[in-house]
């Protein structure tokens, strides 16, 4: 609604995020009255069309929710179905899953750092524009990203929507000698990842802090990727089996993504900053050192610094991948059988953007009778809106164009994966 006392800025669609969305800010009498992150990505109904499919199908189907983090969808789906069928995979399969997931962290974090987020800090509209002045930087990013993609491709057969992942394990596992050339690539990638941390650490970070409760998986002894207990900075800790008792999703009129909150506690944030804050002790010494040198403290509460956390996690993922390759022994069989059985299964893993939860109800023939998917972006939506409201409140003196650009950058801090969240950014600022 626009009346003559209101100015409305309309930026058609938010760029450099994955998926489609808009942001609506209403300012009344000089104060922020309402902020809505609108997700207008068309609804895609994944939970509905999983019903009636066989228990073996969700890894292939749910991968299609997101082209940037398909492995995350495949891994959470496998975990949930194996839980329903009371099957545990062999340690060799588990290690190979962690290895392919490292590939996705490297690829997805590097894509976000170099192609989506860094241009903001440097005043460019895209990495391609940046490449005109600093080709070497963009080339470094692309090489690092490629190392992640090569890892996914080697194990998964294809970098986007891998074909080799199945419930119970893989169709085929690599021989150790197939992994050897990759180890060399990853050595080079480690230097590129460390350079990336130093590079992003030097960006100019606005002073901005949030006070949300943060949530991530925790796996004592190791940095969480493919498994863990759900833990929050407010002291909650529960098994993935209790996820739905603690996390409540609600639909809001302005978005095709559902909003989530912690029962009785309210908004929260998941993602790299939450993971780091809750788990930094389990980073490798080199990644911890890089984090300290980059100025990250015990916790990360400035959303702008999430780019540094992503870079640190990239260092971790590269090192972890090297470690996994060195320790790799092909499992006796690529997959364990997963016979159908009636039951409900839940699984959560750490997607690059945060905790990703799946639940499936199976009938005795292994047919899915109900499915539920809670992606990180919908969990974060309420916290992002709250941050944006405070962010805008401190910048009302800016003209509309600058405010728009800065809001876009602020939203990119959270690396929102809008395709995931719908199973939606235009910026509208209404001032009166």
């Amino acid at each position: 609604m626009t009346h003559r006392y209101e100015r409305v800025i309309d930026v058609r669609a938010l760029a450099r995020v994955e998926g489609e969305g808009a942001m609506h800010v209403r300012v009344r009498d000089g104060a922020v009255d309402d902020v809505r992150l609108e997700i207008y990505e068309p609804p895609r109904f994944f939970e509905a069309f999983l019903r009636g499919r066989q228990h073996t199908e969700p890894p292939d189907i749910t991968a299609r929710i997101c082209g940037i983090c398909p492995v995350a969808y495949q891994m959470s789906a496998c975990a949930a179905i194996e839980d329903a069928c009371r099957v545990t995979v062999s340690p060799g399969v588990a290690a190979l899953r962690r290895l392919i997931y490292c590939g996705e962290w490297i690829e997805s974090h590097t894509l976000h750092i170099y192609l989506l987020h860094a241009p903001d800090f440097l005043g460019y509209g895209s990495a391609l524009a940046l490449a005109k002045d600093r080709r070497d930087l963009v080339e470094r990013g692309l090489a690092l990203k490629q190392a992640g993609n090569d890892l996914i491709e080697l194990i998964g057969g294809r970098a986007i929507h891998p074909i080799n992942v199945r419930v119970g394990g893989f169709y085929r596992v690599p021989a150790p000698r197939e992994l050897a050339p990759l180890r060399e690539r990853l050595r080079a990638a480690l230097d590129q990842a460390l350079d990336t941390v130093r590079w992003v650490a030097g960006f100019d970070f606005p002073e901005f802090h949030h006070d949300h409760e943060m949530l991530a998986l925790c796996t004592p002894g190791t940095y969480p990727i493919e498994t863990g207990f759900v833990t929050t900075t407010g002291g909650l800790s529960f098994d993935v089996a209790q996820f739905e008792q603690h996390i409540i999703e609600e639909q809001v009129p302005h978005s095709t993504a559902l909003h989530a909150h912690l029962a009785g506690r309210g908004r929260y944030l998941t993602g790299p900053a939450a993971r780091y804050t809750l788990n930094r002790h389990w980073l490798t010494p080199l990644a911890r050192e890089a984090a300290a040198a980059a100025g990250l403290g015990e916790e990360c509460r400035n959303p702008y610094r999430s780019i540094v956390v992503r870079a640190v996690e990239t260092v971790y993922a590269v090192e972890e991948a090297i470690r996994l390759i060195d320790a790799y022994e092909p499992p006796p069989s690529p997959a364990v059988p997963v016979p159908a059985r009636a039951g409900t299964g839940r699984g959560a893993t750490e997607a690059p953007r945060g905790t990703l939860f799946h639940r499936y109800d199976l009938d005795p023939d292994g047919r899915i009778t109900a499915a539920r998917i809670v992606p990180p972006t919908s969990q974060n939506q309420a916290a992002i809106e709250d941050d944006l409201a405070r962010f805008v409140a401190g910048r009302l003196d800016l003209d509309d164009e600058r405010l728009t650009t800065q809001c876009e950058q602020a939203i990119r801090n959270y690396d929102p994966c809008i395709s995931c969240a719908t199973h939606f950014l235009d910026l509208h600022v209404e001032r009166s």
Binding site: A13, L14, A15, R16, V17, E18, G19, E20, E41, P42, P43, R44, F45, F46, E47, A48, F49, R51, R53, E57, I61, R64, C66, G67, I68, P70, L111, L115, L116, P119, G125, S126, A127, L128, A129, A131, R135, V138, E139, L142, A143, K145, Q146, N149, G157, R158, I160, H161, I163, N164, Y171, R172, E250, Q251, P253, T256, L258, E408, S419, H423
Partner: protein
């Protein structure tokens, strides 16, 4: 001649096909040297006005607004190429076409009345003329590069219409049907992926959609012989390329 402009458009999709362009790490900057990226929201906030020389369209039409938007994209594009199963066949979202969408909406959303959605997910060619189609869920990035390269050189892109089986032979894959009795859609699926699944010991599940004039009855018999039930056969065709396989199987 001035540098040709390239635009990338997204409709209902997972972003995977346009991401394939960013995944051309080795060639991305070279492509960017030869075309002017004029509209590519996933990668760039710099947007230039049309018309555009080449438009890549990802995703299917699932909302009334998108049915109108695609008309504008067509009007603004000299060559329009659809990329991926969503854009060429309605994608996995087309599973709703034979279902009750209101019921689907209720499964996912507490307040379905807030949504604006069509009862169907339809390919781009059902709405506007399309010049070339790249199949796959996702598309193959080499094929994408070849296509852009061909158009820049003024040639017609060479897009395969034969089946995955041919590529399997070229790649010296052991046939998963013959050797292991695995069900495989390779004989009826369009080549272009490089026959990845059989190379990993898995039957093809048809993510590139039907090849030109496949022998559907012979394929069904083959699938039955490997032990698939009628229901399994129906489901495997009804996944990423529902509309395309349904049309083939009905004819």
């Amino acid at each position: 001649m001035s540098t040709p402009t390239l635009a990338v458009w997204k409709f209902a999709s997972c972003d995977g096909c346009q991401l394939s362009l960013l995944d051309c790490e080795d060639e991305l900057l070279a492509v960017a040297d030869r075309v002017r990226i004029a509209h590519f929201l996933e990668a760039s906030s710099d947007v230039l006005p049309g018309p555009y020389d080449i438009s890549l369209v990802e995703g299917s039409i699932t909302t009334p607004e998108d049915a109108e938007r695609i008309q504008r994209v067509r009007a603004d594009s000299r060559i329009l190429i659809t990329i991926g199963a969503c854009a060429t066949a309605g994608g996995i979202q087309a599973l709703r076409n034979q279902a009750d969408v209101d019921e689907y909406a209720k499964v996912v959303y507490a307040r379905p009345e807030y949504l604006s959605t069509l009862a169907t997910s339809t390919p781009i060619a059902a709405h506007v003329d399309v010049d070339y189609e790249l199949h796959g869920c996702p598309i193959d990035r080499r094929q994408l590069l070849d296509t852009i390269g061909a158009l820049l050189a003024g040639r017609r892109p060479a897009l395969p219409a034969h089946s995955v089986c041919f590529d399997c032979k070229l790649r010296n894959n052991v046939c998963v049907v013959v050797a292991r009795g695995e069900p495989c859609l390779g004989p009826v699926t369009r080549a272009g992926c490089g026959a990845i699944c059989p190379a990993f010991g898995r039957g093809c599940f048809g993510c590139f959609g039907p090849a030109e004039s496949p022998n559907a009855p012979a394929e069904a018999a083959l699938l039955r012989a490997t032990g698939m039930s009628e229901d399994d056969i129906r489901r495997v065709h009804r996944t990423f390329n529902v509309t395309a396989f349904d049309t083939e199987r009905a004819s």
